[in-house]
Each structure stands twice: as C-alpha cells, then as structure tokens.
Amino acid sequence: MKLRILFLRLISLVTYIFLWAPVIVIIVFSFSANKYGIKWDGFTWKWYAALLENDMVRETCLRSLVIALITVVVSTFLGTITAYGLYKLKFKGKQLLRTSILLPIVMPEVVTGAALLLFFIKLSPLQLGYTTIIIAHIVFSTPLAVFVILGRMQRIDWSWEEASMDLGATRLSTFRRVIGPLLMPGIAGAAALIFPWSFDDFVITYFVSGIGNTTLPIYVFSQLRHGSTPVINVIGTLFTVITLIGLLATKMAEKRSRTARL
C-alpha cells in the first residue's frame, strides 16, 4: 500500500520536473550574462534592457496582441450564437454541422494551414496578410468556443429563460439580462483558452501570413535560425509571467465572487 503511493509520487515528481525544467531554464538564463543565453555567467538585467530597445519585438508583440484580441471577440460571439442554435434548435443536418465544426481542430495544423493558404492564393481576392491571419485564427478558434460554451449550456437551468419570457421580456433582453450572465463562465473560459491559443499560434500563421507580416512567434522562429540569443529567454520569461499573473487574477476574482455570493 505504502509502496504503491511512493511509486505514484515518484512518477508524478519526475513528470513535473520534466514539464517544468525547460521553463525554469528559460527564466534563469534570461538573467545570465552569457551572450548565447545557454549557461550561467553571472547575473544581469541587460537582456531585458535590450528587449525594450528592440523595435521588432515591440512591433510583432503588438501585432500578435491585436490579432488575438480580434480573434477572441469574433470567435466567442460566433461561438455563443452557434452553441445557442445547436442547443435549442432541431433541424436536418444538425449532426453533420456539429461534425464539420470539429474539423478545424481535429485536422493537424499543417493540413489546415496548407488548405487555407491554397484557398487564399488561388481562389480568394484577399492578399496574404493581416486579414488572412485573422480569418485563419477565427477558423481554428471558433470550434473551441462552440464546444466550451455548449458544455456550459448543458449545465444551466433553462427555466430562468422561460420565467423571463413569461414575465414579458423579449428574446433579446432575456438573452442579455438572463441567459448571457448565466453563460458568462463559459464565454470567459472560451476567451481564456482562445487568447493564448491565437497569440502563440505558429504553424497556421506561418502558412497564411505572406511575406513581412510577422507575428511574435514567427519573429522568434526567425531568430532561432540565427542561433541562440538571450532575447528569446527574456520573451519566454515574460510569456510565463504574464500567463501566471492572468491565471492568478482569474482565480482571485473567482474566489472573491464565490465568497461574495456566500
């Protein structure tokens, strides 16, 4: 009995170390004076200073942020109305539609990327660039939003909706004042999933971005070709720290709202 728990603990520990070691290495080496950023040569802030002066990083980071924000807004909206339709309505071909919505996430990214690239250059009047990147991100993010929000819909009490409509509220105001707030955890969850998904995406973006429309991950990739640079460590550290802060903030807000309700 004891031995079994010890064994489970050991495997768990090894797995945690495996998952965290690279992240910790990045954070530690972002403060190392070594000019390739691959070993410890004493403490320095200079790579952080270098990052602030790096226009490319600032520019591509801003671009990735804008793309991710637009993607989050459009795909959560689209996801919400789609999930509502799928949940409420019965019609022919519903199962087919559900399956087809899953396609962009079950296809490997190279296939989706290649298909979209081919479509954009051969059939659409669009030039490769921002528009195509945003369309591609919406295409692979919306399915996530649909199924996360659908999951939430299965858990809420729909008699609230009936009550609201019986009391004379229109469908729209019922949605805005009753169903919307009930769905909010699902919508927020979808947004929290999609934002990093879109911000980090490399493969599909690489296919549809065309020349010169660099996002942050593509910039990092181009830097990797020139060998190691400590700036990548700094970017990685900031990524992790920002994610952690966002996560802790969500947890705190959750806790506060829970205690407020009690």
């Binding site: 728990i5 489970l8 495997i11 768990s12 797995t15 495996f18 998952l19 965290w20 690279p22 992240v23 290495v25 990045i26 080496f29 691959i38 070993k39 689209l78 109305i81 789609t82 339709g85 409420k88 309505l89 539609l97 087809s100 899953l102 396609l103 079950v106 490997p108 990214e109 190279v110 296939v111 989706t112 990327g113 290649a114 298909a115 979209l116 690239l117 081919l118 479509f119 051969k122 369309i135 295409v139 919306t142 996360v148 911000f199 980090d200 490399f202 493969v203 690489y206 942050l216 991950p217 990092v220 990739f221 990797l224 970017i235 990685g236 990524f239 992790t240 994610t243 952690l244 996560l247």
Partner: protein, 312 residues
C-alpha cells in the same frame, strides 16, 4: 351527380378546416427556418467558405500535375498518389505513425499514474497540481522547444553538467537525433493526456473500489477490471488529443530533429513553403487527413461521439 356534389362539399370543407392549420404550421416552419438561419447561418458560412472549400481544394489539387517550372498543370492524374507509394514518402508516413503511437504510449504511461495520484491523493491541492501541469503548456510552444534545445544541445545543460562531473570528455549528441524528437513530442503533448484522464478518474465512484475490495479483488485485478475499463473514455479522448497533433507535428521534428529528419507534417510544410510543389503537398496533406479521419472514425465507433466532444 349527387355523389360528386357531396364529395365536392366534403372536399371543400376539408380544405376549409385544414387550411388554417397548414398556414399556422407554415408560419411556425418559417419562424423555425429563420431562427436556424440567424443562429447558425454565420457558422455555416464560415464552415463552407473557410473549412470545407479549402479542404476540397486540397483534394482537387492533389490530382493535378506540377509542370517543369513549378507551375500547376490542369490535367487529372493520380501520379502524386503513385509517388506516395513508390518513393520514400510511404516510409516517412509509417515513421510518423510510429512516432505518434510511441508518443501516445509514453504519454499514457506517464499521465495515468500522475492523474491517478492527483485524483485520489490530491486532496485540497488538486486544483493547484492540475494548474502546475497546464501552466508550462501556456508558454508559447516555440519558446519551450527552444528551451529543450538549450538543455539538449552539445553546448547545453546536460552535456555541460556531465563534462563538469567528469563523466564524459566530449559532448554526447542528443540534439538532432530521433531521441530528441521523441522527447520533444512527449513534452509538448503530455498535458493533453493528463487532463482527460484526470477528468475520467475524478468521475469514478470510489464505492466501486470498495465493492471490488470487499469482494476480494487484488489491487492488480481491481485496476484491470474496474478502473481501466471505466476510464476508457478518458483514454480515447487523450489519445485523440495527443495522437493527432503529434502525427502532424512540424516544429518538433524541424527544430529538434534537424533539417534531414522528416515526418509527415514536415513533409507537407516543406512541399508547400520551400519546394513549392503544391500538387505533391496537397496529396500528402490529403493522405494525412485521411489517416486521421480513419482514426477518428474508429474512436467514435468504439468510444462513442461523446469521447470526441468530451476531449474538448
């Protein structure tokens, strides 16, 4: 005469009683159709234009020819598919499937005990322990692979450590080997196996264990007869989430395997971006998609549709 008049009368009365009903029904139907169009019209538009059309486009291009100058010749041919069988591509495909299976297997071996530990012994740390699995995967994929490179490289952490210890004199080549690719694939996709397994194990009713124990089942027997069958859904969901992306992975073999290491994903990307052989690339992409759809079909067959949607 009378009969025709009677029948006409009957007919007209039937029409009269029926007509308000049908118009009401029609009204209902019209409203229903309107609702379907408002709520689901936009997604259908996106699906048809940006998912189904591009994927059919891939299929279409896969039966065209590449001309001598890399141009596309509009002439139907199965040459690309024949190439797939004749040249080394088939080997690359089988190799990719092998790596994806291996990744999946190692992920299960590592994730099952971990998920089991969190679900049964996590106590009040459950949420935190799960977060500790998710957080590393939220640091951009490309940056984490770069970190793995830093650790595995000939000038990297492991080699430096071993040389400093005096275990080895010359660095061992870890990077740009198949081992590095395997490690990278497991590293990248591991969290996607842990989460569905955890969900499945957490949902298990612990009274089932008690019952099995009371009935005299040994721990091993309990695991294989109770726990494992009941977490089949989680295993299938995790398999979909790990097998699919690792089969089509491009960056891991590209960055950790070196330029000569080819997997299906690398090959597709290479054909499209570097070689400019669109028909050849389309054919490879179509074959890759086909393999995956086959897999998904089997998962739905044996695990039910829920396991697919539960995966999300």
């Amino acid at each position: 005469m009378a009969t025709t008049a009677e029948s006409r009368l009957a007919e007209s009365s039937r029409v009269q009683t029926a007509s308000p009903e049908t118009s009401g029904e029609r009204e209902m139907k019209r409203r229903h159709r309107f609702q379907v169009a408002t709520y689901l019209g936009p997604i259908m538009f996106v699906q048809v234009l940006f998912v189904l059309a591009p994927l059919s486009f891939i299929l279409m291009f896969s039966v065209l020819k590449t001309g001598p100058y890399g141009n596309i010749v509009f002439e139907l041919t199965l040459e690309n598919y024949r190439n797939l069988l004749d040249t080394g591509y088939a080997t690359v495909f089988f190799k990719s499937i092998y790596y994806a299976l291996q990744t999946n297997f190692v992920c299960i071996l590592l994730s099952y005990p971990l998920a089991y530990y969190i679900a049964r012994y996590g106590g009040r740390w459950k949420a935190s322990l799960l977060l500790l699995i998710v957080i590393p995967s939220w640091t951009a994929y490309i940056i984490r692979l770069y970190a793995l490179k830093t650790i595995l490289g000939s000038n990297g952490l492991i080699n430096n450590f071993l040389i400093d210890l005096g275990v080895i004199q010359l660095p061992i080549q870890f990077l740009y080997t198949s081992y590095a690719v395997s490690a990278g694939l497991v590293y990248t996709w591991l969290p996607f196996m842990v989460l569905p397994l955890y969900a499945a194990l957490e949902g298990l009713d612990s009274s089932l264990w008690e019952a099995a124990k009371d009935l005299g089942a040994t721990p091993v027997r309990r695991f294989f007869r109770v726990t494992l069958p009941l977490t089949r859904g989680g295993l299938l969901a995790g398999t979909l989430l790990v097998f699919i992306p690792s089969l089509g992975d491009w960056l891991v073999p590209h960055l950790l395997g070196g330029s000569k290491f080819m997997m299906a994903g690398t090959l597709v990307a290479h054909k499209f971006t570097a070689a400019g052989d669109i028909p050849g690339g389309s054919c490879l992409a179509a074959a890759l998609a086909f393999v995956l759809l086959l897999l998904i079909y089997f998962v739905i067959r044996f695990g039910g549709r829920e396991s697919l949607e539960q995966a999300l």
